[in-house]
């Protein structure tokens, strides 16, 4: 065990810090859930890519730096420290990208990865359906073979950033006779094809951060299949494990939020309120604990261990911590926390978004089921 950075890691950190300090926009960009904000975030991604920082853990040939997971965490720390914009192509770079590297063909890697790293193509995840949320295996949108094409029909919902995204990665039923998670296929599809209708959905904050996607005889080549036909569930689960386990919410997001929380407490908090200072301290411990836990997980991955169902523990932990951090901030802000602007603006916005954390990427109830069944080996209930 050695929790000090190596010379190489420190050098990497300072290189990242220097670049970010010189390049991060000096004023915050508008939300990427607006047309203007989306375009500005895409431009920022292009700049990150040109600097070689958009996908540090990817192989060099696809636009990355071959950084290991520890370096990826270091980069994330520097990224959040610098106050850089949110990652508009998160679903591509951190979720689909690693999956393509794992199960994609060489042609798919060459075709999709560089344009993903540069965000020339921004990706949306089209898994959920109106009647297939937690119960994702009951997906009904279907893909039917016709020559060397898939014909897609059905409806997806809650696809983040799909309003302005370029492509989506979806899961479709390809074997109508197969039940549940069998007979599903993972298919990549441009969002501007004939037969596609994207209907924006306003989120709790009023912005259209996600969308419904309707497929009406949409044709894509069979070559857009990721992984094997009818094995889409396994492909999706590989992606979901990585998402929940490490890449979706890196610890730096929360350690930086807690730094701001402590600053808020120093500015507005009542120092004689010990319940409040205990709560702020607890938030610090949670963020720090999550950071340490992640370094431990990632060291394990570097030593050849894989993350399985334990990834569900992470997902519950970070999402509940995020809600808690924001609740404490609003408590400190008192009457100001009723307002959408002023000193509370960022915290109220953040509070609203934090409430979706226990829902997206698989609800926390579903995660608890997974932990009970697969980690604790309790008998199946359903």
């Amino acid at each position: 065990m050695d929790l000090n950075e190596t010379a190489q890691e420190s050098a990497f950190r300072s290189e990242a810090r220097t670049w970010l300090e010189a390049n991060v926009p000096t004023s915050a960009l508008p939300s990427f859930d607006t047309a203007e904000g989306f375009a500005l975030h895409r431009a920022w991604e292009q700049k990150l890519y040109d600097g070689g920082w958009s996908a540090v853990s990817w192989p060099v040939e696809y636009g990355g730096r071959d950084a290991d997971y520890i370096m990826w965490l270091i980069f994330e720390e520097e990224y959040y420290r610098s106050g850089a914009p949110g990652r508009v192509n998160q679903n591509g770079i951190f979720l689909l990208g690693p999956t393509i590297m794992e199960v994609g063909t060489q042609a798919q890697k060459t075709k999709f990865l560089p344009s993903m790293a540069s965000s020339e193509i921004v990706w949306a995840q089209a898994w959920s359906e109106p009647n297939a949320g937690s119960d994702m295996a009951s997906i009904r949108s279907k893909a039917t073979r016709d020559g060397d094409e898939w014909v897609l029909n059905g409806q997806k919902i809650w696809a983040s950033r799909a309003v302005w995204a370029d492509w989506c990665f979806g899961i479709f039923r390809t074997d109508p006779t197969a039940e549940r998670h069998r007979g599903l296929t993972f298919i990549l599809c441009p969002l501007d094809l004939p037969g596609i209708t994207v209907r924006p959905i306003a989120q709790l904050d009023g912005d259209t951060g996600f969308a419904e996607i309707f497929f009406d005889d949409v044709r894509v080549p069979l070559a857009n299949t990721l992984g094997e036909e009818n094995k889409g569930w396994a492909v999706a689960m590989a992606t979901a494990g990585f998402e929940r386990g490490v890449s979706l919410r890196s610890p730096a997001r929360f350690t930086e939020a807690v730094k701001r929380l402590i600053h808020l407490w120093k500015t507005y908090g009542d120092p004689t309120d010990t319940a409040l200072s205990d709560a702020v301290t607890d938030a610090w411990m949670q963020a720090e604990g999550y950071r340490l836990h992640t370094y431990q997980t990632v060291t394990g991955m570097l030593e050849g261990r894989t993350i399985g169902a334990e990834a569900s523990l992470n997902k519950i932990f970070w999402s509940e911590m995020d809600v808690r951090i924001h609740e404490i901030a609003l408590q400190i802000l008192g009457p100001e926390a009723e307002r959408m602007e002023g000193p509370s603006e960022r915290w109220v916005d953040g509070f609203l978004f934090s409430l979706s954390g226990p829902i997206y990427a698989g609800t926390n109830e579903i995660q608890r089921n997974i932990i009970a069944d697969r980690v604790l080996q309790l008998p199946k209930g359903m």
Partner: protein
């Protein structure tokens, strides 16, 4: 940056787990409760032979020359088996602190047993079976002890009177005894929690109601998942605290406090969930569950409770 244990560290801990699975079963732990000493001399000899008790004593003084990183998984294993007696006090503090004293030899070969008295509480655990007490900068011998009836039969509590004092160092790796005890008990509590969760999961697989194992009911599943969550997220902070303590890090005391606060709360959560999952049998003297539950209720209070340690962390991170 490398946050993992070496193969040797893991193997040693597995060896200890093996030993304890035979020599420190619930039957043994009950024996310690019932013999009115909270101590198992036979087990003590085994732990001495294996080098567990002298893990932190320098090799030059006849010990294993280990660091707190080497020891932290051992503390955890000791907790899994709810090992009774002054094992943490002796191993984590007294033996290394007194490694250069006249007591060194007897403490290493198991002929003398030591406990520790720190300022976070008025009572001395295990005084009745201890030949000496390390208290701040003194060793107390020839004392008399009065039982004050601790909740955990494997950790009997006393007040002390009389005795004679001789000067000694109560530092381990440059840290105060109370902090080393906080670290050791944090790791021990993690082991206690793991054991409770395993016992409860096993019970939930076996026990049937409404024609199904109770573990198939979602309320039970979620209770257990939440307990596991707290324990899993107390581990890395505890291992980090061991690293900070071993390397003389300037944040060692803060890190130890963070570990003790999290481990105490995790153990309490695990005890509540485990008992609930057991239903009526969980509220009996007969069920072995109490051996771990009472250990958690004792050690979460000893050597600084969660509130005490959280405030120490707060003093460092809110005002630092």
């Amino acid at each position: 940056m490398k946050f993992s244990f070496t193969q040797d560290q893991r193997l040693f801990a597995e060896g200890l787990r093996d030993l304890l699975s035979k020599q420190c079963t619930p039957t043994h732990v009950r024996e310690a409760w019932e013999n009115q000493t909270g101590h198992l001399p036979d087990l003590w000899s085994r732990l001495t032979e294996m080098g567990v008790l002298s893990m932190l004593v320098p090799e030059s003084q006849g010990g294993m020359g280990g660091t707190l990183i080497d020891a932290v998984l051992l503390f955890q294993e000791l907790g899994r088996a709810a090992v009774p007696g002054p094992v943490l006090e002796h191993m984590a503090v007294a033996a290394p602190a007194l490694a250069h004293s006249q007591w060194a030899h007897a403490l290493n070969d198991g002929t003398a047993t030591a406990t520790v008295w720190v300022d976070t509480g008025p009572y001395v655990a295990h005084a009745q079976v201890a030949d000496l007490i390390l208290r701040n900068d003194a060793v107390i011998t020839g004392f008399s002890s009065t039982d004050v009836h601790g909740i955990d039969g494997g950790r009997q509590l006393f007040t002390i009177s009389g005795g004679s004092e001789s000067a000694a160092s109560a530092q381990v790796f440059g840290l105060p005894a109370s902090d080393v005890m906080a670290l050791a008990s944090a790791a021990y509590l993690i082991g206690v929690s793991e054991a409770m969760i395993e016992v409860a999961a096993e019970y939930a697989r076996q026990r049937e109601q409404f024609g199904k194992p109770i573990g198939s009911f979602q309320a039970v599943k979620h209770l257990m998942s939440d307990a596991l969550l707290k324990v899993e997220f107390a581990k890395a902070p505890t291992y980090r605290a061991a690293w900070s303590a071993s390397t003389g890090s300037s944040t060692a005391l803060r890190d130890i406090s963070m570990a003790k606060a999290l481990a105490s709360e995790a153990a309490y959560r695990a005890s509540r969930s485990t008992m609930q999952v057991h239903g009526g049998i969980g509220y009996t003297w007969e069920a072995d569950l109490q051996l771990w539950m009472k250990k958690s209720w004792a050690l979460m209070r000893a050597y600084g409770d969660a509130t005490y340690h959280r405030r120490r962390v707060g003093a460092s991170v809110l005002h630092g």
